[in-house]
Symmetry: D2
Subunit: 410 residues, 4 copies
């Protein structure tokens, strides 16, 4: 009932699982708590996530809370085979790196064939596949990503959603922490690994001042860079200015910058016309999910020459003879050149996943067939578990204060 | 048709008006723009605001846009008489410092007696008074404060609101900037003026991590203080932790702190039991609107002795013999010991006020009798005006990008 | 044997003395320690210092250590009369604000007439006067300022110095702390009091990157300003660059800056030619000792108009019609517009003064007639006293470590 | 006349050389300048340095200035074979990774056998070997490291130094930049690569507050860590306190810390007794040159178990059952787990090396047989070259200012 690349990798997988677990206290705190009450006792949960060391800690928590987990990988290329091997010693797993599309669908089919009551998904492929089969026996589920949530909302809008789904993606304890602290650090980490250059004094241009841009700008400054923010939303641009960053448009920034990082989720925020204005030696990198933020395609089509000068760094000679450098071919730098989010960050969204699973199990009959946000009290429990795992005590409002707060609402 | 304390103060008032105007470019940019189209030509606008140098710049902008302004002060004690004198050379003003409640109401009556079409208010006293008279001839208005907005929403809930109101208070370009950058700086400024102490190395305890708390914590760190945040909301507490601050409950913080600043809007967030735990020499101050955040009353009732040791600093000898120091009797430190918000901050909310007035004039017949937020496109115009006044160019989305953004929404 | 302005101010003086004393723990710790051994028992010490609240804490410490103090003010205009009144209840004082040059010299004469064995001086006027009288009976002394040290070194070079002098001015625990943390904070404080403007987002130009410049740049950044450093020394310029500041020459900086602060000790580091390049509304201020850093004289001679727009802020209309603003007439901003160094900073140099007095008393017969630096072990004692007053424990090297350190020296 | 591991690696070496060269503008600026005047035309220079990509840029610069370079590696294990291969296409090289002691000495012998007039050394092995042969024909040299300088000073003290040596190690443009910005960044980089953990919110303990400690503390804070400094020198401890760091002794810090970094150059600054007090999961790392700062030996001898949990991270189970984690076996983290100093940092000391070589050639007959510091005007030229390579203009003192500065010296 399991298919992995190499079961002998199990010990390596356990080692990586333990390292991650030691740094995901919010999740293990919840696991410990629910390991006593076992609110998911006997509940069959179908899971489709990237099979990484962090995911293994969620699977461990779900098992501890009593669930019967059936796991497939969320992407043909993202499975860590040692982790899959380790998890296969504890539950049913169908996941290996380097699947064909057919393999991938077969794995999802195995999960659904086990007749789960709930689904936990990343990208909504599992949810969509379940709906093809009319979602028989499924009472609810959750979804990790923006893309997945959009697909599910489209299904809801068409009246086709067959069960309630909690959009973990929209939790404050996900996007505020993942994007700002997680991507902020790991993007800088990726750039340092790729280039080994000094950041002190460097003129860094951060394109976008959403949560990711804020995180990257803050950390670049923290390493001594001089940061310019490019942002077309005037309110965010003003915020960047008052946070003490230089603010300008992409054309002016292109002339000044030495290191560029895109963080917008938008297409061509560094157009080729900006690349032409850059200084000799400028370095371009991307922190966004897709590799569309820099217009790499046009740049490559115009280039007089392209060569790899370091792992993950290509030198591109422009028609003018000027050279610029591209990190990781414009793909997401923290995954390409470093290790993605630290486990301390992933613990927050996975703790939300776990809370969502418990909530769905207990409340699904009171819920409608739609996409829900994460209830504030679940987020609070996640945040409290994280604080507790850090040994931080925060106190609470007094009764008198609760009444004072209400008196405002009259 | 005017009543001020001393018309001869007009030249001083003009000097202060000009200083403020030079630092409120967002507002003066809008004034310049609307000085050509004059969208408020002949519109009678009743205004009830604190008559300060910053307010005079709003009045100037409204007059420039063609409005006929009738002005009363929003508080019996807050009028700057030189400003009132200067404004009385340009329009009708009923405002002076040190009014009786009767005077205050008389002034409001004068404004309403002039039959305004619109009202701009701070605290909703003018709106409430207008409703007593059935709001005859009034087509809409705006409101600056949280308190005022709550009163108006209560009226809306009871079905008694007689015209649409725009809640300027809720604009991002107000609360994000006012609270964080404005109160952040001016609270530190007030504390330095009151105590003249070195902040470098000081253990500062910031109670609350909302926008004001974030601003105060950020600026205290910027002056070299070591900052502990006390926050009972677990998500905010976690955010403070990841921003690199120590986080603890008030009891633990009380034992460590040398300087305390409350920023919560809540009552007794520094209870007397915490004061008893503090170190000899601890300094207590408040950045919140009301003087309830520190339990001053209990502290004073228990004190063995109280004496003023510097202007705005009282030394309180506790029963144990330990001494603590209270800034400005626990009242809002940036107003008591410094000059409140800098004009660069006030320009944002006043620019929103101006945009709201124009919007009400043009759209009131399409609006319902309820409390509206500030429309995003008005905020954007305010933010653009601010950026323009700073000479900052930010560019814009391309057509291709707008389409790419929409493709997500499928 | 005393002459002060008004003895009735003594209670006010005591209040200010106590406030300062509570924040000068390094000095009071030493006072407590030497209050037991009384190493200055009966030693007559002539003192010529600015009679401020901080100085009163040094006088208290010297008295506590057994000294017999005779005090004159170091400047005809700097005496705080309440402090002089209070100190006159404890020892002999000749000091009041607003002296004629004749009065000033008379006071110094009174101190010398009391036949002190040691002198503590600020500017070397007391030392010079003592030499006129052949320094009869004087075994040594100390000096607080750069200017005074230079005069004494000139005397040493000419073979005219009659006794050993310890240059407290050169202590690391003075210049590193005074200049960086003290002037850094208090200059920003002065600028905020004078202008009440928002610093967040402002382009601040700090001229000079010595200790004062480092302090001002660090604190301006801490308040959210975007800082450009102007520095003609290439090594310091490079340091500023790697600290993440923009670096440029004064001409380029003049075009960009909104707030200028000079910190060099040099003449005309903002020449009139730079002022002409500035933007409308630029604010000029000086953190250096003398008012020569901005070429105020030329600016005033060219101005079309000068008017005070706020206390300590003059508006200067240039021939081009552009207006710039000058804080405190170009005089040292932290003293003109705020309260100078915080007591926590002054405690360091005054603790060095006290240690120097004890050292001179004990060792003068082994010392030569020259200007000495502060011995490292005295500095260490001062730093330890400061740390102790803050409750900070730092541990010590082990014997093994001391030996390991020596092994390097072979 | 050359011996390298594999000449075919030359193209890879050239690629790495070019990457480094593009980021060492100070050095290439000097090379360009002296490529015209060729002040080292025909001068035979013996070089013993770590054969890295950065060193290849120095060799290139020396060749460009006309020198005839003979190169050996400074350590049997540090040669990058591709760089050696590339350099062997341009000059004589004897260097490969993995030499026996005999090989190593043979290479040095080859350099000396070529009869160089000058020596550039790292650790003084080349200098010492030259003296064994009476330093025949050698007119002077330079030295890169502290260790080497100490050996040469010992030789000078014994009257055995046969020619003048410039101690590049002591240049401000070396230690201030290398240690603070270079080690600061690269140590954090190494820790992130080794552990992949989130730094935001982590309690980091930096042991030592010299230049390295300042750099590490500054960058750790910049990544969001909460930093405690442990420092036994009271003046430096006070500086850390006023820079806004928590300061404590190692025992107290051991109880609080989650990540420890030693930066002292001292032995056992984290003794085993401190390790015993640490929290479960504490991470220990070292930024200092030698692996003596953490008492690894005692820890290992007491451990119940040791296992590698990630590359460069060992888990050590203490007798109490508590686990701590050691990065890179306690060896210098930036070299073990990252790539050492960025080229932008190395350019400064290598530019000093080049200036020293030119100075020695031109002035050796006026110099004595002793160890010299780097003259201020050479440092200035290096700093100016660095600034120029960054496009930074800094202006210069006017004649009037030079005179004003002198007037102080009277």
């Amino acid at each position: 009932m399991t298919k992995v690349a190499d079961a002998k990798l199990s010990r390596d997988g356990e080692r990586n699982f333990l390292w991650a677990k030691a740094h995901m206290g919010a999740l293990t705190n919840l696991a410990e708590k629910y390991g006593k009450s076992r609110p998911l006792e006997g509940v069959k949960v179908g899971v489709c996530l990237h099979v990484t060391k962090e995911t293994s800690v969620l699977i461990d928590a779900l098992l501890t809370a009593g669930a019967d987990v059936k796991l497939a990988g969320a992407n043909p290329l993202s499975t860590q085979d040692d982790i899959a091997a380790y998890l296969s010693t504890r539950t049913d797993v169908w996941a290996w790196r380097g699947q064909s599309p057919k393999d991938y669908n077969w794995c999802i089919g195995q999960v659904l064939g086990a007749r789960p009551e709930q689904l936990i998904d990343d990208g909504a492929d599992l949810h969509v596949a379940a709906h093809v089969e009319k979602a028989k026996g499924i009472v609810g589920g959750s979804e990790e990503t923006t893309t997945g949530v959009m697909r599910l909302k489209a299904m809801e809008a068409e009246g086709k959603l067959a069960y309630p789904v909690i959009a973990v993606n929209d939790a404050k304890t996900k996007f505020m922490f993942d994007n700002r602290y997680g991507t902020g650090q790991s993007t800088l980490d990726g750039i340092m690994r790729a280039t080994a250059l000094l950041l002190a004094g460097v003129k860094a241009v951060v394109v976008g001042y959403g949560w990711v841009g804020k995180g990257v700008a803050m950390r670049a400054r923290g390493m001594g860079a001089r940061v310019t923010v490019v942002e077309v939303d005037p309110v965010k641009a003003l915020e960047a200015h008052l946070d003490g960053f230089d603010v300008s448009d992409i054309d002016a920034a292109a002339r000044e910058g030495q290191l560029f990082v895109t963080t917008t989720g938008q297409k061509h925020v560094i157009p080729y016309s900006a690349v032409e204005k850059m200084k000799e030696g400028a370095i371009l990198s991307n922190a966004g999910h897709f590799d569309v933020e820099i217009d790499v395609k046009t740049m490559m089509s115009k280039a007089k020459g392209v060569k790899e000068v370091r792992p993950n760094v290509d030198e591109i000679t422009l028609p003018s003879g000027k050279r610029v450098y591209l990190v990781g071919k414009g793909r997401i730098a923290n995954l390409v050149a470093a290790e993605g989010h630290p486990p301390e960050v992933m613990q927050m969204s996975f703790a939300n996943q776990m809370m969502a699973a418990i909530r769905i199990h207990g409340e699904h009959d009171k819920m409608q067939k739609r996409v829900y946000g994460v209830p504030a009290e679940l987020e609070d429990e996640v945040a409290r578990a994280a604080l507790k795992s850090m040994g931080i005590s925060i106190g609470a409002q007094t009764r008198e204060q609760r009444e004072y707060a209400k008196s405002w609402e009259i």
